[in-house]
Amino acid sequence: EDLGIVRLATTTSTYNSGLLDYLLPTFEKEHGATVQVIAVGTGKALRMGRDGDVDVVMTHAPKAEAKFVSEGYGIEPRGIMYNDFVLVGPNNDPAKVKGTQDITQALEKVSANKALFISRGDDSGTHKKELNLWKQAAVKLPFDGYREVGQGMGKVLQMTSELQGYTLTDRGTWLAYKTKVDLAIVSEGDARLFNPYQVIQVNPERHEGLNTKGAESLSKWLVSDNAQDMIDNFRLHGEKLFVANAKD
Amino acid sequence: MNSDIQSNLYLSSVEPASCHDVTARPDNHPWHSGKPSHSAERVLQINGLKHSWNKDYVLFEIPELSWFKEQVIWLKGENGTGKSTLMRLMAGLEPVQQGSVFFSDIKPSLFRSSGRGRVCYLHQTPYLFAGTVQQNLQFVIRSLPFARRRKAEQRLTEGRQMAALHHLNDQVATTLSGGERQRLALLRAWLLQPDILFLDEPAANLDDGSVELICMMVKDLIQQGTAVMLSSHQSCALTQLTNQSWLLKNGTVYAL
C-alpha cells in the first residue's frame, strides 16, 4: 500500500508536545505514507482545511470544528483524545487562588485582587476557552491587570513568568515549560477545563487533488486500538498528557 | 579683435536671415592644397543649433556651419564660452535643444548600439576605468568589431611605446599622474581609430615632450582618415596640425 504524501495541519501546541513525532512514524511505516505536518494556530489550521491546502486537520476547538463540519468543509470528525487546561500563577500567589478547584471562583479571585492576568488574545482554542470561563465567572473584561498579548501558549507562559501574573494554559504546554518558568498550578481538575481533540478530513468534494485516501487512513488509524494505546502510553517529562477517548 | 574677425571671414551670424554661404573653408591645409569644392565630403553639418543651460542666457547659437573631411579644426574660445558644450553636443553626449547636428551617416547616441565607436569625444579631464593601464587598453580592443581586433592588438605595442606608457602597463590607471592620464586617454582613442574625434584640451597638464608624443599620435590618426577637432588654449605642436580655426565668441562660432 502506498498512500503518498498526506498533509496534516495541526495546532502548534499539539505538535510541540512531541506526540506526532511519536505516533506518525508507526503509521508511515504501516501504510507506506509520508505525513507532512504543518503546525499553525487553530484558526489557521482550519483555514488551511477550508482552502484545501491540507488533507486532514487535527485541532481542539469544538465550536469552530463543528462549524467547519457543518459548513461542509470537513467530513468524518473523529474524537481521538483529550487533555485539560490548568490555571497557573506566581509561586507566592498574590490573589490567593491556590486550593480553589472551581475555576470560575478562581478567576473571580484573580479579578477581584486586580492581579495581573495574561490572556492569549489570539482567538485560539485556549483563548476561546478562557473567554468562555470569564463569561461563566461573570467578570467584565478588561479589568485592571488584564493584558491581551496575542501570542502562542509557550510565549504567554514565558511572559506570565516574567511579569509574575496568572494565565490559563493547556497541560501539554505547561509540562513542556514547567521547568523553565517561575510559576505553579493554582487551579486544576474542574470538568469545565476539559480539552477534546478531533481529527477531521477535508471534504474531497470541495477540492480536487486531495489525498483523501491517505487522510482517511490516517484518521481511521488514529482511532484504532493500536494508536489509542500509544496515545495513552505517551509521556512528556515523565507525565501522562493525553487521555485517549475514541471508544467513549 | 572682435571687429577684426567680423571683417575677416565672417561665416555665421546671430540672425539666421543673413546666412548665405556659411560653410567654413580651409585655407592653409598642410596636406591638401586648395579650397574644398562645394561637393567636398562633409563630416558634419550644423543647422540653427542653439543651446542654453538656463532660460535667461543663450550660451551660443550657430545658424549654419560645416566641417569638411580634410579640415582639422582648432576650436578656440575663452574659458566658459562653450567649447566643451559644443563638442559634447556634436558627439551626442548632450541632447540637442534646438536645431540639428548631422553627420554624413552616423548618429551618435548615449544608449543605442549602432554606429558605436565612430564618433569619439575625449573629456577635458579624462576618465580612466578602475583597473590597470593594460585593462583600460584591452577594453577598447574588446569593444572593436572582431575583424579589427587582431590589427589593434598589433598596434597596441606600438601605441604604448608612442605614448610612453610601456613601463606603466600594470599600474592602476587611476593612480597615474596628470600627464600620464592624458596620454592614456589619447592612446585609447588612437586604438579605437574613430571616424571623428573630438579632443577637449588634450595638451593640458602635458610637458613639451608629451605634447610631441600625442602630436604624433593625432597626426597618425589624421593620416588614417580620422576627422579631428581639438580645443586648446595654448598654441603648441598639436595646434600646428590644425588647418582651420573655429572661434567661439559672443555666443556664436566664427570660422577663421
Binding site: 509557550g154 | 544608449f111 576618465y127 572593436l144
Partner: protein, 234 residues
C-alpha cells in the same frame, strides 16, 4: 554570560557533530536563498541601472515605490503569495504551496526591492563620465553596463550581501509558503521559530549562531574578493 558561552559551544558542537537533520535544514536555507538571490540579481541590476540612467516621467515615483516595498513585512509578502498559490487561489493549480519553489519565489519578491534600491544608489553614485567614456570608446551598451558595474563593484557587492542577509534571515514568508515541513521546507529560521515556540530558547539561539557562523565564513571569504573595501582613487 556563562549561558551565552555555553550556547555558543553548543552551536559549534551542533555544527561539527554532523547531525544529518541539521545539515538538511542548513541546506534548505542556503539553497533557497542562493537560488532566490541568483534569480533576482540580474533584473535588479537592470532596473537599478535604468532608474539611475534613464530619465522618464514617473521615475521618481518608481523609486519611491521601490523604497516603500522594502517596508512590507515579510509575512505580508508571504500571505499574499500564499493567497495566490493556495488551492482556492488563482495559481492553485500550480500545486506549489509548501514547496521550496514557493519559498524561492517569496524570497525573490523580498530581496528585489532592496536590490533595486541599492543598485540604483550604486549606479547613481558613479561618475557619469564612466558611462560616457565607455560609450565613446565604442563598447556595446551591455559591455558599458558591465564596465559600470565594475566601477561600482564594492557598492554592488554590498547590495548583494545585504539582500542575501535579508532573505536568509527572514522567517515570515518562508514559514507561510514553505510550511516548515521537516526535511523538506524547514530552514534555519523556521526551525528557530519552532524552537522559540517550544520555549527551547537555547536551541533557538544555537541555531541562530549556526547561521551566524556560516554567514561569517561566507563573508570573510567575500572580504578577500572585496579587496578589503578600500577607498577609490580618482
Amino acid at each position: 554570560m556563562a549561558a551565552l558561552t555555553e550556547t555558543f559551544a553548543h552551536a559549534v558542537e551542533l555544527l561539527v557533530s554532523g547531525d544529518e537533520q541539521l545539515w538538511t535544514i542548513i541546506g534548505v536555507s542556503f539553497r533557497v536563498s542562493f537560488l532566490a538571490l541568483l534569480t533576482a540579481c540580474v533584473p535588479a541590476v537592470f532596473l537599478g541601472f535604468i532608474l539611475a540612467y534613464w530619465r522618464f516621467p514617473g521615475r521618481w515615483f518608481l523609486l519611491s515605490m521601490t523604497h516603500t516595498l522594502m517596508a512590507v513585512p515579510t509575512v505580508v509578502v508571504g500571505l499574499l503569495l500564499f493567497m495566490l498559490l493556495s488551492r482556492s487561489g488563482p495559481l492553485g493549480d500550480w500545486r506549489m504551496l509548501f514547496t521550496q519553489d514557493a519559498m524561492i519565489i517569496g524570497q525573490i519578491l523580498l530581496c528585489l526591492p532592496l536590490l533595486v534600491s541599492m543598485t540604483h544608489t550604486a549606479f547613481q553614485s558613479a561618475d557619469k563620465r564612466a558611462w560616457e567614456t565607455a560609450r565613446m570608446l565604442g563598447a556595446h551598451p551591455l559591455r558599458c553596463l558591465w564596465v559600470l558595474m565594475h566601477e561600482v563593484r564594492y557598492a554592488l557587492i554590498a547590495s548583494l550581501v545585504a539582500a542575501f542577509a535579508r532573505i536568509i534571515a527572514e522567517v515570515g514568508c518562508a514559514m507561510m509558503v514553505g510550511g516548515n515541513i521537516l526535511n523538506y521546507t524547514r530552514n534555519i529560521t523556521t526551525a528557530i521559530a519552532l524552537e522559540t515556540l517550544k520555549g527551547e530558547y537555547a536551541q533557538g539561539v544555537a541555531l541562530g549562531l549556526v547561521l551566524f557562523i556560516l554567514a561569517m565564513i561566507l563573508n570573510l571569504g567575500m572580504a578577500l574578493l572585496r579587496g578589503r573595501g578600500q577607498l577609490s582613487h580618482r
